[in-house]
């Protein structure tokens, strides 16, 4: 009996030993040292191959443009270290470990998808490396008290509220909600429904579909039977565009509304053909027109989050410029805590508008608006809707 008790004590001691260094670790921010002659690296994690690659490459282009324009900080060249995180949990975690253990990385622009940003932010918090996501909109990212997470995009609640208000204004009463079962799509759909039902409207049905699936006619046939006026979809363009096409195929005459995931000319408007005419999406106000011209002369069509990525990169670069201290041997020393506080308190005039962060890392005062796909003079594009 006594021996057994001893075993328990041993176990307790071992477990508490396990915790002691960790507690100490969490308080330590430390600093980044860039040796003389070494470049300052800006990390980037987005999907560079696969179904949503055009969105990921667009983000990379935005960040790259900012880095190329900045060229150097205090004599150290700035380079972009881009990695393909596949928009998913496990890969994003692996990339986050890689980024955080790279001594030259001052911060990461990313990650692209909420499902990747969430686990990655835990890794970043462990090493206290900054991350500014241009595109992860899930609510829980900023509600978990992670001090190193910021975003230059909006959150799902803002976006879902904008969509829901529009629905209420148009007096659409029969609504079906679809999502792609991802963190992103599901939380959007959830917020949208919350807002709708708060205003006394009813949702006819909610259904999930699988990312990568191509055949949605069975589920749409079922929905058609409910005679909805609006189908709201929380998800990405690859599935959204198929829904729009197959809605026409099954003969549903409802409006289709989706989120920023579908705000891409290539994967939504062009891939969908005429079937996407009249579809609504929610997305930020158009960025600075001058900038768009400059961007498009280098990279072609501006897709979705390149403006947010450009601003995120610039904020990171600006904060590094403000906080880096040059040593006598030519190396740079950047205190991580000071760098973080600089970003948290920044007032930055970006191409997507004035940027400041609230205490959770969410952007204050960013406005999402409604766009509609229209065809005018043979050109099909997203037209900002009256607001």
């Amino acid at each position: 009996m006594n021996q057994k008790k001893n075993q328990w004590y041993c176990l307790l001691v071992i477990i508490s030993l396990f915790f002691i260094p960790r507690l100490g670790y969490a308080d330590k921010w430390g600093s980044i040292i860039i040796p003389a002659g070494k470049p300052i690296q800006i990390g980037l994690g987005s999907m560079l191959s696969g179904d949503y690659a055009s969105m990921g490459i667009d983000i990379k282009n935005g960040a790259e443009m900012a880095v190329l324009e900045k060229k150097s900080i205090l004599g150290h060249p700035v380079i972009l270290q881009a990695e393909d995180d596949g928009c998913g949990g496990p890969t994003s975690v692996a990339i986050a470990e890689k980024m955080c253990n790279n001594p030259l990385v001052v911060g990461v622009v990313g990650y692209m998808c909420s499902g990747g940003s969430k686990p990655a932010s835990d890794i970043h918090n462990k090493y206290k490396v900054l991350m500014i996501s241009p595109s992860s909109t899930a609510m829980e990212l900023t509600s978990r008290g992670i001090p190193v997470f910021f975003r230059t995009c909006w959150n799902d609640a803002t976006q879902a509220r904008c969509a829901a208000d529009f629905v209420i204004k148009n007096n659409w009463k029969k609504i079906v909600v679809l999502h792609d079962k991802s963190d992103y799509g599901q939380s959007l759909a959830h917020d949208f429904m919350n807002h709708i039902s708060k205003n006394g409207l009813k949702i006819l049905a909610t259904e999930g579909l699988t990312r990568g699936d191509k055949d949605f006619t069975p589920i749409l046939t079922k929905i058609k039977f409910m005679r909805p006026e609006l189908i709201y979809f929380g998800g990405m363009a690859a599935e959204g565009v198929l829904l729009a096409r197959q809605m026409k195929r099954t003969g549903i005459r409802a409006y289709f509304m989706s989120d920023d995931g579908c705000y891409t000319v290539k994967d939504f408007i062009q891939a969908g053909g005429r079937a996407t005419n009249g579809c609504y999406v929610t997305y930020a106000k158009k960025p600075d027109a001058q900038w768009v011209k400059r961007f498009e002369s280098c990279y072609g069509h501006c897709q979705t989050f390149s403006p947010q990525a450009y601003d995120a990169t610039n904020i990171l670069l600006e904060a590094v410029t403000q906080t880096a201290k040059k040593q006598t041997d030519g190396s740079l020393i950047i205190d991580k805590k000071v760098l973080r506080d600089e970003v948290a308190g920044i007032r930055y005039k970006g191409i997507t508008g004035e940027i400041a962060f609230n205490s959770h890392g969410d952007r204050t005062g960013s406005v999402v608006v409604i766009y509609k796909v229209v065809e005018e003079n043979g050109k099909r594009f997203f037209k900002q809707f009256a607001h």
């Binding site: 191959s49 999930g208 079922k222 690859a238 198929l242």
Partner: protein, 308 residues
Amino acid sequence: MEYLLNPEILIAQIINGLTIGGIYALIALGYTLVYGILFMINFAHGEIFMFGSFGGFAVLTFLSNNGFSASHPTLSILCAFVVAIIIASSLGALLERVAYRPLRDAPRLSPLISAIGVSIFLQNAMMLFTKGRMQVYPDIIPENFIEIGWLSISCFQISIILGSLLLMAGLYAFIHKTKTGKAMRAVAENREAAFLMGIDVNRIITITFIIGSALAAAAGVMVGIYYTQINHMMGFIPGIKAFTAAVLGGIGNVPGAMLGGFFLGLAEALGVLVMPAQYKDLIAFGLLILVLIIRPKGILGEVVSERV
């Protein structure tokens, strides 16, 4: 459940199910033909389907860029099918020669592993070639709809169902009415005896791969035109589903694969009516387990179980 009592929604779902079922059946035939003769599962078959689809995509993109498809839409689609079939058939024959023939007398596990290796190789080759980006088939012919009251049926769906039935009828006639078909049946029955009777077994096996691949390529182009999006991973899920269909019908059994394909497509479409759409894949694989428990040799039976 109220949906099941509504004849219109039932008819619409049956057409949806037959459309995807026809595609499953065409791919399943490739699995079953090869299994019938070699007793191996060609796991690279989904990738042959993918290559066929990309072949059709290349042709249609080329023809739509130079404006030919606008004036001759039917001819361009025919071209796409022919080129896709040629590409996929050559690939199938090549795989057989390079990856399977050297292993024909090896233990049964070796060709299976070789097939999985080939499958991963082909996926990655196409990923590097397309940079992993999704490709979109151009719109060659406008999609017309037949509307009967509440029902709306796409002419694409009708063409896929009829096209797949036609190809299957052609295959059935080929196997049962021609000399080569007879030789195929003989090799499937007993390879050594067929060899002793003077049948060139290697040639028959190559022909089997070519026919299976051609059917997959036809399915690939149909998928491209109907669903419009293709990428390097597109062969994986249909490949697994078609394999399920082949096992459902009784692997090695040609009418079984056809039946299995349509059965699976219908089960998926009708299953959505009684349970949430999230469970679509669950229906397919649940059915597979169920059939294997109740009828281990598949619905129509034949050689299964102990092999592979």
